[in-house]
């Protein structure tokens, strides 16, 4: 405990730093899990648009979409605020980090800047995405296909998907490193696994988009 923080005669035992750290990790992990499930749900259109419609109907009947959507948005904003505690918003910090990453030429260091950039992209774009979806319920494969084919939403989703996939992969790796799941021994393996995960996400998203753009409405 540093002396500057002792303003009371008896400094209170404060576990806030640790709890915020745990909260950031847990919220990030849950969001990653959600995005994974989301990807499987939308990907079900590859098998059949009927399957996607049925799943959508099921989720909406249970009000999972109507309640879950805003909750996910809240968790995401919360996760952003927790992460933003570390972001280099002050010019001095940004300049220092930029100089550092240029000096080091070190992947893990550079990836953190990517993490910050994708976080901001996701915050804005996923908010728009959630609003649009909730505004045009029910979710159907035909509506999604129309959005891709005529609504000019394709570039939007490509950027959002890429940002989300990259952010999640780096984030999961980072959680592993921070809590000694990814160790010196298995780090090369973990990095390889994360690349595979990214490729798998890219393939599923690509196929989903192809299917949606070829769907007759």
């Amino acid at each position: 405990m540093s002396l500057q923080n002792v303003t009371l005669h008896v400094p209170p035992k404060d576990k806030l730093s640790g709890r915020l750290d745990v909260l950031m990790m847990v919220s990030g992990f849950l969001l990653a899990l959600f995005v994974g499930m989301h990807m499987v749900f939308v990907g079900s259109v590859i098998i059949s648009p009927k399957l996607m419609n049925a799943l959508a109907w099921f989720f909406e009947e249970l009000y999972l979409v109507q309640i879950g959507g805003p909750v996910i948005l809240l968790v995401m904003v919360g996760h952003f605020i927790l992460g933003a505690r570390k972001m280099p918003f002050r010019q001095k910090e940004y300049v220092a980090f930029r100089a550092h990453s240029k000096m080091m030429h070190h992947t893990d260091t550079t990836l953190w800047l990517v993490q910050v950039a994708t976080a901001i992209i996701i915050l804005v774009m996923a908010s728009i995405h959630i609003y649009t979806m909730l505004d045009t319920l029910p979710i159907t494969a035909a509506k999604s296909a129309a959005r891709i084919q005529h609504g000019n939403w394709m570039p939007f989703y490509i950027v959002l998907l890429a940002a989300a996939a990259i952010h999640i992969v780096i984030g999961l790796y980072r959680i592993g490193v921070k809590f000694a799941v990814v160790t010196r021994e298995n780090r090369p393996k973990a990095r390889k696994f994360m690349v595979y995960l990214l490729v798998a996400a890219a393939v599923i998203s690509f196929l989903t988009h192809i299917r949606l753009s070829l769907l007759t409405i």
């Binding site: 405990m1 540093s2 035992k13 576990k15 730093s17 640790g18 709890r19 915020l20 750290d21 745990v22 990790m25 505690r85 570390k86 280099p88 910090e93 220092a96 980090f97 100089a99 550092h100 990453s101 000096m103 080091m104 030429h105 070190h106 893990d108 260091t109 953190w112 980072r174 490193v177 921070k178 809590f179 000694a180 799941v181 990814v182 160790t183 010196r184 021994e185 780090r187």
Partner: protein
């Protein structure tokens, strides 16, 4: 055929009002098994006696010759020139106070963090009996402590840390590793809560962003990544004690590479 090395060195003397930070080029003929430390000595002896850099042991033990070698912090005596390209750029370690050219003051920094984390064995001194036989320790445990004690405080991990560059009050990997060393020492009587008070904050473990610059540059190959992870997990679990069920916490505590309080 031996190469002619082009060594570019950062020059600046903060004590000289006329001195301006600039890069200066030197050329040295390389020979077999030449280290950067040798090349620097040749420059100082034959070309410019005013070049400032620190060294003491020339064997990676004293930790004095830490510097930024082509962008990566490392020990000059530990670095063979044959592993580097022909053009070598040398800077002093960032974060630390510059003494001049490649020489920085790591001592003041390490003393300050050492005081902050109270880097000594905390035990009941009044119970110490000079006549009693010294307490015994398992050899495996002694080796484990020694593994972490090998740190020479060269400052490379601090200079390679993005967080330390951004935030002056961040303690850095060497410091957290030092706490980990006391954590596994059975003679240190500090509890998990006591350790939380020392590094359970954004200046300590929770400030670390897991960039692993420290892990990748450490010249002594100290398991910094693992130690940071172990300490962070221990303190993170400590912070949610009473919120999460004890069974889950205990289970998570013993997963993976986790040394326990002996």
């Amino acid at each position: 055929m031996s190469r002619r090395l082009h060594i570019e060195i950062f020059r600046y003397n903060p004590l000289d009002p006329d001195s301006v930070p600039h890069m200066q080029s030197f050329y040295v003929n390389e020979y077999d098994s030449m280290t950067l430390f040798i090349a620097l000595n040749i420059i100082r002896e034959e070309q410019d006696p005013s070049v400032q850099f620190d060294f003491c042991c020339r064997a990676g033990i004293c930790g004095s010759c830490g510097m930024v070698i082509n962008g990566r912090p490392g020990l000059a005596c530990h670095t063979q020139t044959r592993d580097l390209p022909e053009h070598i750029v040398l800077h002093p370690l960032p974060v630390f106070k510059l003494i001049g050219d490649l020489s920085v003051d790591t001592g003041t920094w390490f003393r300050a963090v050492g005081k902050k984390i109270e880097a000594w064995v905390h035990s009941d001194d009044t119970a110490f009996d000079v006549r009693a036989e010294e307490a015994r320790m398992e050899n495996a445990l002694a080796e484990q402590i020694f593994e972490l004690d090998r740190c020479v405080e060269c400052g490379c991990c601090i200079a390679a840390c993005g967080t330390a560059r951004m935030r002056e009050d961040f303690l850095g990997a060497a410091t957290i590793n030092r706490v980990a060393r006391f954590y596994i020492d059975p003679r240190d009587e500090r509890s998990d809560d006591d350790y939380y008070d020392v590094i359970g904050n954004d200046q300590g473990v929770f400030g670390c962003m897991g960039l692993l610059g420290c892990e990748d540059v450490c010249p002594k190959k100290i398991p910094l990544q693992d130690q940071l992870g172990i300490m962070r997990r221990m303190l993170a679990l400590n912070s949610v004690k009473g919120i999460l069920p004890k069974g889950i916490l205990d289970k998570m505590k013993h997963k993976g590479c986790c040394h326990e309080k002996h």
